[in-house]
């Protein structure tokens, strides 16, 4: 690796006008936090970018971490040279030799420091000619080059950028407020959490457990999923709700075809109460229109009745296959398909009502004490703080 620097560019954040610096500050914090395990790095924030001096750390590993951070549009590897033509020439050659897979190139030079005597277009010609002369089997392609050497003449030194890597896009996590995500153990809800984190939301998760019908492994599965969501953005809290009593009450009091509807309404009530406690401004689910009985418009309408909070459904228009594809990309798929019962699969009615209505639902809720069960569940919530992967290790003395 010949590069000394990585330069991070922001993308969408740059459109934020006066608030830009808040976003950039958040992003810088994320970058510093995620790169903590590389002690040699020096990280500097500039107006337009964040610069990382590698100081011998493995660039590939650092890039792999950066690629996961939301708010980063792209990452360029770069070197710095003195502000003179000879230094720029040999710098350009160094990069071209290192990028020996590239067959075509172009130079894109720009002066920040207008005192530098050679104009951008002249620099393009000067450096381009020099590279052509000194690297074999290479040609210029100004439209679709394998590599663009961007040369940026600054006030003190010149940066030359080589390879560019695509970032995760989106907004820095934590820049958009907090949502409470209803996390089952399935494929969809972690994807919803990922998409929300990508838009800058702080995601907390709430999960409903029904021991002894659901096991410790189901719980572990949800913890593992939360860790994955966490890997995209800061520390994630996981709220575990004891739900057995409520489910048994519903089973005993409510006609079979309405049980799912009532159960979901109860979940929303509990989630809303928890959201108030934690300061979340919205609830989120992994629902997708028409996927299962509780995901029809009638069903969502009936379920939504019990909460005033906005309910965000990032996957509402997505097909199952598209969702699964994202799950695979973000590495939650393998965890989600672990075959443990969760509170939604036990007591599953044979024929749930696909078009429930609010009136019926309200009537059935008079058959048992909704408020008391909600209260009791909320009081029993256990909150786990899921921290970054390396800090937690129960088996460390064995391995």
């Amino acid at each position: 690796m010949i590069y000394d620097y990585l330069v991070i560019r922001f993308g969408e954040i740059t459109l934020k006008g006066k608030n830009k610096m808040n976003f950039v500050q958040k992003l810088e914090n994320d970058v510093v936090e995620k790169l903590r395990r590389f002690p040699q790095l020096a990280i500097k924030r500039h107006f337009d970018d964040i610069e990382i001096q590698l100081n011998g750390e493995n660039a590939d590993q650092v890039i792999a971490v950066l690629k996961q951070i939301f708010g980063i549009q792209n990452i360029s590897s770069a070197i710095k040279v003195e502000n003179n033509l000879d230094a720029m020439r040999s710098g350009a050659i160094r990069i071209m030799r290192a990028e020996n897979g590239a067959r075509t190139f172009k130079i894109a030079a720009r002066r920040k420091d207008k005192r530098f005597p050679i104009h951008g277009s002249e620099l393009n010609q000067e450096l381009g000619a020099y590279v052509l002369k000194n690297c074999e089997g290479i040609s210029v392609d100004v439209h679709d080059p394998d590599i663009t050497l961007r040369v940026e003449v600054g006030y003190h030194e010149t940066r030359i950028y080589g390879h560019e890597y695509e970032g995760a896009g989106g907004l820095p996590v934590g820049s958009s407020g907090k949502v409470l995500l209803m996390l089952s153990g399935g494929i969809d809800s972690p994807v919803a959490g990922y998409l929300l984190a990508k838009r800058g939301a702080t995601v907390e998760a709430i999960h409903f457990q029904s021991p002894p019908y659901t096991s410790d492994r189901a719980k572990q599965k949800v913890i593992d999923l939360t860790k994955k969501i966490q890997s995209f953005g800061g520390t994630v809290k996981l709220h575990l709700v004891p739900f057995t009593k409520a489910q048994l009450a519903i089973r005993d009091a409510v006609p079979e075809d309405y049980r799912i509807t009532i159960m979901r309404r109860l979940m929303f009530r509990i989630a809303e109460k928890e959201a108030q406690k934690t300061g979340a401004l919205a609830l989120a689910t992994g629902e997708s229109l028409g996927q299962v009985a509780s995901q029809t418009l009638e069903s969502m309408n009936t379920i939504n009745q019990v909460t005033d909070l906005p309910v965000i459904r990032p996957l509402i228009t997505m097909d199952k296959l598209d969702i699964a594809r994202i799950a695979q990309k973000i590495d939650t798929y393998e965890i989600s398909i672990r075959p443990y019962e969760d509170c939604c699969t036990i007591f599953l009615p044979k024929a749930p009502r696909t078009r429930p209505d609010r009136l019926h639902a309200e009537r059935f809720e008079h058959f048992f004490d909704v408020d008391a069960l909600t209260e009791e569940a909320v009081n029993g919530i256990e909150t786990l703080t899921i921290k970054s992967e390396d800090s937690e290790d129960v088996f460390s003395d064995l391995l």
């Binding site: 590993q61 096991s215 410790d216 492994r217 393998e334 290790d393 129960v394 088996f395 064995l398 391995l399």
Partner: protein, 380 residues
């Protein structure tokens, strides 16, 4: 006791054996059982996998736990050949592979595959040129050891990997059993699709190993069964062994840099000492070889006799590879290098580990010199 047969096996770390015992006793449940006890075993297994992946700088999904080098090589070679036989039937390996690879190829030949065995030069090294000549459009598998187990020569797997990066229809397997923690090898983005390592070669328990299987590589399993290890290696996981090995892996990785430097020191000392002994011929090349192996013949002295003579002084070295030492002929590796048969029958292998000391090497050298002198008189 001075143990200098570390290429055959290493003495397990106390810590690795502590782990083995603790896991055997406390995490005995089957990781596939659905009860909570099984759950604990399962999470210990996945922690082990993650740690191994982190140490090898690969993805956890790319780690397949095996029973050791022989299984790793067999699974890689037969598994890839059978899985990709639709693409072609030409395979490339070298004439100096470990028996577990060579015999797998012999088996595949009987099944109709065509195998090119690349020859080696006087230093036991294949040439990239020969490889290029042997490479064909229908070559589906290339399998090459990184470090030769008998003489320590490093093969040009990096160059071959670079070339094969551009050949997506060819699977590249590297037998890294002898090279691990002695000659660094990058796995990700190196063109390597499969890589075998073995636990007992780095102070882990026997019967343990890892096959690195790059994501997207398909293998026909050797064992059919319950689908453990991503269905590539069915059978209840050897959890105590796996944990013990992963602990040894961590301990070895932590000491790798300093350890390799130390091994080079020992090797220099060994070479200098050997050159003072009459008729000593060192077969291990001076450059481009691993730091822990020295293969040497003493003219006129049968290797087996010398091994037993040293044993009297509680110094343990070996003849050729332990895995082929039961057949009493000359070393196939040395013969392939062009070493005359007589000399090839006289070779002993001295192989060190991180914990061997300069004093041990000095003592071994003087014992060697003494024994060679004695034996020469007797055998004359």
């Amino acid at each position: 006791m001075i143990y200098l047969d570390n290429s055959a096996t290493t003495k397990p770390y106390t810590e690795a054996m502590d782990t083995y015992r603790t896991v055997s006793e406390q995490f005995f449940a089957n990781p596939s059982s659905i009860h909570a006890l099984g759950g604990k075993s399962e999470s210990l297994l996945s922690k082990s996998r993650e740690q191994a992946a982190r140490l090898l700088k690969v993805d956890a999904k790319e780690i397949v736990f095996t029973s050791g080098g022989t299984e790793g090589n067999n699974l890689a070679i037969k598994g890839a050949a059978l899985a990709y036989r639709g693409r072609g039937c030409h395979l490339i390996t070298t004439a100096v592979e470990h028996a577990s690879s060579l015999n797998a190829f012999r088996q595949l030949e009987k099944m109709g595959f065509e195998v090119t065995y690349l020859p080696v030069d006087r230093e036991c090294r294949i040439s990239v040129e020969d490889f290029m000549k042997a490479y064909r459009k229908d070559t589906i598998l290339v399998s090459i050891m990184h470090v030769n187990n008998e003489v320590g020569t490093i093969q040009p797997v990096k160059e071959i990997g670079e070339f094969l990066k551009t050949k997506p229809t060819t699977v590249f397997h590297v037998d890294h059993v002898q090279g691990f923690a002695k000659v660094p090898l990058q796995l990700n983005n190196s063109g390597i699709d499969l890589c075998t390592i073995s636990g007992h070669k780095f102070h882990g328990p026997k019967g343990t190993g890892i096959l690195y299987v790059r994501q997207g590589t398909v293998l026909a399993p050797l064992f059919s069964g319950g689908g453990q290890e991503d269905a590539m290696r069915s059978g209840t996981e050897n959890l105590p062994g796996i944990c013990g090995m992963v602990r040894a892996l961590r301990m070895t990785a932590e000491h790798e840099e300093a350890g390799i430097r130390h091994l080079s020191d020992l090797q220099q000392q060994l070479r200098a000492g050997l050159s003072n002994i009459e008729n000593a011929v060192i077969h291990t090349p001076l450059s481009g070889s691993a730091p822990h192996i020295v293969n040497v013949s003493f003219g006129g002295i049968k290797s087996e006799v010398l091994v037993h003579a040293l044993e009297e002084n509680e110094i343990y070295v070996s003849t050729k590879s332990a895995c082929s030492s039961k057949d009493t002929g000359a070393s196939g590796v040395l013969l392939a290098m062009g070493v005359p048969e007589g000399e090839a029958r006289q070779a002993i292998r001295i192989s060190t580990a991180f914990e061997n000391t300069n004093e041990e090497i000095a003592a071994s050298l003087s014992s060697l010199a003494e024994n060679v002198k004695q034996l020469k008189m007797v055998m004359r």
